[in-house]
Amino acid sequence: MQETVNDLNRELMLDANAVAGLFQDIFGVEMTAAPTECAHCGAEGEMGTLLAFTHGPGIVLRCPSCENVILRITQTPDAYYVDARGAVYLRLAR
């Protein structure tokens, strides 16, 4: 059963290019070309390369190298909640 669920998730998996508009809403800048670093395995790469799971109640972005969760984003009517503990850093161009 677990395997079925995983297969389904993988089938629906996108990459963070698909949430570029949401990034822009939250951060106010283009983020898909911005670098980040996975707090779990240390892989560095552009935000656009993160694996995106967008079909749940929130959005989960995972490291393409180790698949650890980098970012979780939830939207409520009056706020965004961003859990970024899986990233060593996020870079916002100024």
Partner: protein, 250 residues
Amino acid sequence: MRQPLDWQIATVKAIRPETAKVKTFTFSLPDWRAHRAGQHYDVRLTAEDGYQAQRSYSIASEPERRGEIDLTVERIEDGEVSAYMHDVLTVGDRVELRGPIGGYFVWDSELPDPLLLIAGGSGVVPLMSMIRHRAATGNMVATRLLYSSRTFDDIIYFDELEKLRGNGHGLDVFHTLTRGQPEGWKGYSRRIDDRMLKEVIKPLRMVPQVFICGPTLLVEGAANTLVRLGLPAAQIRTERFGPTGSGTGG
């Protein structure tokens, strides 16, 4: 650089069928901005009761076309946005759009490297924007498109690609059909594999800039093979197309 990204009301200027399941929508934009080839727009629909659905679609047209963009959209069964666009939208209708969005999966015609473009299904759309941008700017950089479709009738932009490949400006196009081929088919007839990729990249003497767009399996398979063949991972950019469109949910 902070850029406000506001929703604007675009008007449907034209709708053109590409295949049985794919249509191209031309939108006139009051607040048009030149995009970078590979970027996309978000499309937002609002029902009378306030329910909103939003999806992200790649731009098919070249940035040189002022005031309007083409979005090529595959109709997904049960797709809230794509089904509405295909079945309900008509010329003159107004739709909320915002963009252009994205900075990772983009190609600028100033880049000197040869181009290797790999597409699966409607993943060809952002690559077509690159090919049209290349043609519009007179760019002659050696470019090879490897495009996987299910059947001949599923190939998007076939005629235009034939015309562009024949004009002597260094574009080569390779089709592969995975679910059936017409009689006398001269292209490939299988899923993209090591041998195919080797044959396609061989004439590119320099290390190419690679863009791969399609379903996850195709994207990961092609990217892994290219790395195995010795291409630096940093030269490979990927974008996954999901079965519900590259959407942000909702």
